[in-house]
Structure formats: structure tokens, C-alpha cells
């Protein structure tokens, strides 16, 4: 499998700030492309993986990596056999509100198993793990979304965004959220 974000593909990992802006444009374009719901159902014919990705897209308004998502979907269902039903329940609430982003429907998710499931999906995408505990399986490192809100300044540890002595003490204001 090719990982364009890995450091063994340096040509794809040259993130001077100007290029981040250009890249931001590309990412916006990707978001406008056919949504994640077009992902094929799994071999058993279940709609669950594509429902998981569709719900993830509604919970998180960022570009989501398909490989990471499919692995997360499988692991969450393995951990909790009722997870698939919870995904369905959450999708129903979102569709009932004609939601486009999480702010459109999250207040309508009842406290309890459904809300816990929604927060677990969000935290899994952001942290790259389902549980943050020793021996936990890591589903995403450099693609974990928690690194993205600071990606205009902070290095994802071990992945350089600079060049020899190429960094400076300049930093943008807090309000300039990167696009990801």
C-alpha cells in the first residue's frame, strides 16, 4: 500500500506554509467530490462500513481517510456488537434533522449509549485509538485528526515540516484554523 503521508515519500511531504494553503484548496476540492457514502459495502453485503463512514462524515467535517475508517468501523463493531445499531440510530437522528455537520444534530442525540457512541467515533478519529491505554491498537498516527488544528505551526512529532534551520519564531494567530 502506498502511504503518501509517510516520510518515505518525501516529495509528498514538503509542507511550507504556502504549500499548505495550496494543499488546502485541493482538500476543499476533495470534500466537494462524491461523498464517502459511495464506499462499497463489505463482502458480507452489510451496509455498515459505508454507514460508518457516512456518519463519521456528519460528525467530523474534515477529510477522512478511508483505510483508517474501515479499520475503525470493524474494530468498533468487534468491541461492541451493538455498535452497528447505534450507527444506524445516529444516522437516523442526523437525517431527521437534514444535518450537514455535527452542529446540526448533536444536540438532538440523547444522553446514553447513542451519545457515547457518537463521542467514541469522534475521539477515535481524533486520537487514532479507540482507547488511550497501554497496549491499545493504533489505527492512525500522522492521520489522527488531533494533529490537524495545529498543523500550520506544530510538527507532528517525528514528521518534519521544515528544512535545515528553516523554521522561525513567527506564528499565525490562534484564529487562523488550518483547513483539513
Amino acid at each position: 500500500m502506498t502511504h503518501s503521508h509517510r516520510d518515505d515519500a518525501p516529495a509528498d511531504f514538503s509542507l511550507f506554509r504556502r504549500k499548505i494553503l495550496i494543499g488546502g484548496g485541493v482538500i476543499l476540492g476533495a470534500l466537494a467530490a462524491p461523498p464517502i457514502a459511495t464506499i462499497a459495502a463489505d463482502s458480507a453485503g452489510s451496509a455498515y462500513p459505508s454507514q460508518f463512514m457516512e456518519l463519521s462524515g456528519l460528525l467530523i467535517a474534515h477529510r477522512l481517510d478511508r483505510d483508517v475508517g474501515l479499520r475503525l468501523a470493524a474494530a468498533l463493531r468487534m468491541k461492541d456488537p451493538a455498535f452497528e445499531a447505534k450507527v444506524g440510530g445516529l444516522l437516523q437522528i442526523a437525517k431527521g434533522k437534514n444535518a450537514k455537520v455535527v452542529e446540526d444534530f448533536f444536540a438532538d442525540v440523547p444522553e446514553g449509549p447513542l451519545k457515547d457512541a457518537a463521542l467514541l467515533i469522534v475521539s477515535s478519529w481524533y486520537l487514532g485509538v479507540i482507547v488511550d491505554a497501554p497496549d491499545a491498537e493504533v489505527f492512525a498516527y500522522e492521520l489522527a485528526l488531533m494533529y490537524q488544528p495545529t498543523s500550520d505551526v506544530m510538527t507532528i512529532p517525528s514528521y518534519a515540516i521544515s528544512a535545515p534551520n528553516g523554521w522561525t519564531s513567527q506564528a499565525p494567530p490562534l484564529s487562523e484554523m488550518p483547513i483539513f
Binding site: V102, D132, Y147, V153, M154, Y159, P164, N165, L174
Partner: protein
């Protein structure tokens, strides 16, 4: 015999001290065999180990280095795990939870790369302030070795004497300083406003240019636990050089006994391999460089009829005077972004606060802005708040950018009561685990109360902190010193000014354990300088036969 081997020089330990000594020996035509308790691994493996850690574990540098059962080291991820290997007691037991790994290359893998020198005053505490001990030689004697060490491992630093620490130097640094990121610059500016100078650190990281076959630093911000590109000096690049010069490195070889002969010269080192099979290696000269805990442990384990208190221990000082720089940490929350994670994880410190007439009453302190990217911390903390959507992203950005950490590392005096002994508890091979009693002492406590904590609060206020939490429990800085203390008098010290054991003519114990006092700065460059000084003595002695 299959399990016998020999070389001119036997070196136990493959960290910075063992590696520097080995190269010197090989350059003079002496044969070298190095023994390493732990495994030998490639850089990519450690990098992948790190990236495959769950977020909170990434903050524990040792988690990327799982120990082998035959070579245990302290694992810090829980208190229970941390209590497995190092047995700690005393009022400040927590402050001696020393991080080091038993892998080929030792702590060079995960060190921050900071290369402060001692000052002339740091070496004369008794004469100047009436406390502790004086070193048996002065700064001018050590200076040429500092310079050689800086060129051997590749240290970058400022050319402006006003920014050097200390500025008494015989040659410039081999490379210029690394730039500051935004947080480090803001810290420097705030310090300046209250009369303190935050200096660019001397660092064993290549600045702008390649050096000694290693590339320049690109700011991967991962010096701890591993530099992914080898810009920092570490053993993954040093060990192949040693082998290229003909040195032999035996990994998974756990030294457990140093054997003495009739004239109390060292004759052999015994080690277990990973199948618990014992081996014996003989040589003309022996260098133990297993770090400040493992070396005294090995000496104590080696007691025999001639040396009933342990090898090199007629003074009863082996394992005593255990030192470090006890650390407190100030956690700041700021209204404005500070930003970390740009450049190396550490790149500067306030050093002037390590010096002063106050040293008759309390120790000095070093203040360091920690530049490790706070995005992992910010991400985990924001997610735990149960936020979603734009609120989550904004909180991650705020917590990552508008929080900061200032470490305070305190000067501690050598105290014979701070002592390493052999625990009754044994490891997988049946070797006694180290037991350490530790009390940071009133010298450190007074510094915190009267000097360092009030000063860090002033710094925090100047930075615009809206909340400042200063830890109240001293923790480890991982600068293990003192356990084979150096002195001119064999009655109260373990090694002579060349790190030669007073008791054994062909046994050398260079490194942090030999340091007479520790100052406030990271100990590595002094260890490296002592390694080169010892290497000269080994070579001279080998020549004389």
C-alpha cells in the same frame, strides 16, 4: 573454549561514554570488545514503535523501547510498572525514577542532545561556597576535553561569547546555533524583560550542515524518544563506525561479575547471554561505562575475597553520592498562544541562575522552556471534554498553543547517604536489582522555596500566564551522577582524575558516576569529556605495557 574471548580493551556499555572510548582505542590500534546488556535495533524500528504507541504513552520516552527480560530497565507508564526494576526509597524516592534504556546505544537514543559544560565555579563548590567537594582538577584542565567531545559528537552552539555557557572556550563550536521557534523566542523575550538571559543550548544536533556523516536537523521535534533522521548524535550512527574500525560489539551480553587477580588487577568480565549461559572475557584494560546506576551495581555485585565491599570499593563510596538535578515543572495556561513543537524538543535554558553567592545556602537552578509539541496533550485533553465539531478543533488549537511547561532543574550536592545498594529482589537472570535511597536535601528544598519557585512564578506572570501550577513533588531529570565519585584521595573517592579506580590499576569507570559535583546542566558533555580524558590514560597505560 567457546565461551571465552578476549581483546586489548574490554568495554562494558555502549552508550556515549563506551562509544567514545572505543573509538579512541581503535584509532590507536588497540583491539576492542564491547559488551551490551540489551538488544541492538535499527532506527526505523524505534520510530515505528513510537508511532504505534497510543497517545498518552507517547509522552513516556521509554515506551518505544520495550526491555528484554534479561536486561530490564525502568518502564514509566504506570507507577506499578515503574516500581518493577529500580527499587527506590527515602523522602524523594520519586525523584530517582531515572529513565535510561538498556539497548545497544543506551541513553544516546533518547537523550535531548543538550551539551552544557560545567563552569569553573561548578567544580570548586568547597573552596568558593564551603559546600560539597572540589573536583581534583580545575576547568582549565577539563576544557580541552570538552572541546574534543564537542567535535567528536558534533555540537552546535552560538559563536557570540555573550550567548555561550560558559564563554571560556579554546575553539568555537563546530556548528552555529539552531533557530528558535515561536515559544522559545517568547520565553526568551519575557525572561529578558525581568533581567534573565535565555541562552541557545549547545546541542549535539547538526545545525544547517551535515556533520560526521549525519544530516542537518530538520525540526522533526522528536529528539526524545528518537531522532528519526539521525541529526542528533546517537549510537545508531556511532556503533557502525566502531565496527568499521574493527571493534566488536556483543549485544544481549549482561555483565554480572568483574573478576580480580592476585595483584587486584582486573582479569575478566563475566556475562550471561540471553539463554542464561555464562561467558568470560579477558583483556588488558577494562572500562565499565554502563551508566551511573548499572556500573555501581556491577561493582557491588563483584565483591570477592580481596574486595569484600565490592570491586573498586575500599573507600565504601561505590554507590554513594547518587546525584541528579531534581526537577519541578511549572504548567502555564496563557491568554495568548505561546506555541511549541517548532524545532528540537529542547533548545535553550536560563543558566545564570545556576551561579551565585547563594550557593553557600542553597543550590542553583536551570529554567527551560519545553519545546515538545503540545498537540498530543491538547488533543487528548480536548477530546476528553466531550466536544465535537468546530468547538473541538478550536479547543485543541487553544490547549496546544496556549499552554506551556517550564522545567526547573536544581543543583544537588553529593551526599553519601544517597546510596545505591543491591536489593534482595532479583531480575530474570537472578541478578540483584538496584536499590536507591534518595533525599534531595535542604540545599535543594531551600532553593525551591526561596529562589526557583518564586522566580518561575515571576517568569510565568511576565509571559502572561492566567494560571500557573508548579509541581510540588521533585521528579527525575535522568542525569545520573556520583556513584563512582572522583577525587584525589583514595580514602573518600572511587576513581582518580583519569577515572581510574583507585583500587585497580587497569579498571576505568568514566561517565556520570565519576562526576564530583553535577551543577544544574545536563551531564552528558561532562561525561563525554571524562570519557576522552580516561581514554588518553588508558592508551598511555597500554603503551607502557
Amino acid at each position: 573454549m567457546a565461551n571465552e574471548d578476549s581483546a586489548d580493551v574490554i568495554i562494558v556499555g555502549t552508550g556515549i561514554v563506551g562509544c567514545l572510548v572505543a573509538e579512541q582505542m581503535l584509532d590507536r590500534g588497540l583491539s576492542v570488545l564491547m559488551l551490551e546488556a540489551g538488544p541492538r535495533v535499527d532506527r526505523w524500528r524505534i520510530v515505528e514503535n513510537f508511532r504505534n504507541l497510543p497517545p498518552t504513552l507517547r509522552l513516556h520516552f521509554d515506551a518505544a523501547y520495550p526491555p528484554k527480560v534479561w536486561a530490564p530497565h525502568m518502564e514509566s507508564y504506570t507507577d506499578a510498572a515503574a516500581a518493577e526494576y529500580l527499587q527506590l526509597e527515602g523522602p524523594n524516592a520519586r525523584a530517582y525514577r531515572q529513565g535510561y534504556i538498556r539497548y545497544a546505544g543506551g541513553a544516546t537514543w533518547h537523550w535531548a542532545g543538550i551539551c552544557w559544560r560545567l563552569t569553573p565555579q561548578d567544580m570548586r563548590l568547597k573552596s568558593l561556597y564551603g559546600v560539597a567537594r572540589d573536583w581534583p582538577f580545575d576547568y582549565d584542565t577539563l576544557e580541552p576535553y570538552y572541546t574534543r567531545a564537542e567535535y567528536a559528537i558534533g555540537v552546535c552552539g552560538p559563536s557570540d561569547p555573550a550567548l555561550q555557557w560558559p564563554s571560556i572556550r579554546s575553539k568555537p563550536y563546530p556548528m552555529g546555533p539552531l533557530p528558535f521557534g515561536p515559544g522559545e523566542q517568547r520565553f526568551t523575550d519575557a525572561a529578558a524583560r525581568i533581567g534573565l538571559k535565555n541562552l541557545p543550548s549547545a546541542q549535539a544536533r547538526n545545525s544547517r550542515v551535515a556533520y560526521d556523516g549525519r544530516p542537518p536537523c530538520c525540526g522533526n521535534n522528536n529528539c526524545i524518544p528518537v531522532c528519526p533522521i539521525a541529526a542528533k548524535y546517537d549510537a545508531a550512527t556511532a556503533l557502525p563506525k566502531i565496527e568499521a574500525k574493527g571493534g566488536r560489539i556483543r549485544a544481549n551480553a549482561v555483565a554480572y561479575r568483574v573478576e580480580t587477580g592476585p595483584k587486584n588487577a582486573i582479569e575478566a568480565v563475566h556475562y550471561f547471554d540471553s539463554d542464561k549461559i555464562s561467558h568470560r572475557v579477558t583483556g588488558k584494560m577494562f572500562v565499565l561505562a554502563c551508566n551511573g546506576i548499572e556500573t555501581p551495581k556491577l561493582l557491588l555485585l563483584s565483591k570477592d575475597e580481596r574486595n569484600p565491599k565490592g570491586v573498586a570499593n575500599s573507600s565504601d563510596q561505590v554507590g554513594r553520592n547518587m546525584m541528579d538535578q531534581p526537577k519541578l515543572v511549572a504548567e502555564l495556561t496563557l491568554a495568548e498562544p505561546m506555541w511549541t513543537g517548532v524545532g528540537p524538543v529542547q533548545g535553550s535554558s536560563i543558566m545564570q541562575t545556576s551561579q551565585g553567592e547563594f550557593r553557600g545556602r542553597h543550590g542553583g537552578a536551570l529554567f527551560r522552556f519545553n519545546n515538545m509539541a503540545r498537540s498530543t496533550f491538547g488533543g487528548v485533553a480536548a477530546v476528553r471534554k466531550g466536544l465535537v465539531g468546530k468547538a473541538l478543533d478550536a479547543e485543541i488549537r487553544r490547549l496546544s498553543a496556549c499552554t506551556a511547561e517550564i522545567a526547573i532543574e536544581h543543583e544537588l550536592l553529593p551526599d553519601p547517604n544517597n546510596r545505591l545498594t543491591l536489593s534482595d529482589k532479583k531480575d530474570w537472570l537472578g541478578i540483584n536489582k538496584p536499590n536507591i535511597y534518595y533525599d534531595v536535601g535542604d540545599y535543594v528544598r531551600r532553593c525551591a522555596q526561596e529562589y526557583s519557585v518564586p522566580l518561575v512564578r515571576k517568569l510565568a506572570a511576565e509571559l502572561g500566564a492566567v494560571d500557573t501550577q508548579v509541581s510540588t513533588v521533585f521528579t527525575n531529570s535522568d542525569h545520573i551522577m556520583g556513584g563512582m565519585i572522583m577525587g584525589a584521595n583514595p580514602a573518600d573517592s572511587v576513581v582518580d582524575p583519569d577515572c581510574r579506580a583507585h583500587d585497580h590499576p587497569n579498571l576505568f569507570l568514566p561517565g556520570g558516576g565519576a562526576m564530583t559535583t553535577g551543577g544544574c546542566g545536563n551531564s552528558t558533555l561532562t561525561m563525554a569529556a571524562l570519557a576522552l580524558k580516561a581514554a588518553d590514560a588508558v592508551i598511555d597505560q597500554a603503551r607502557q605495557g
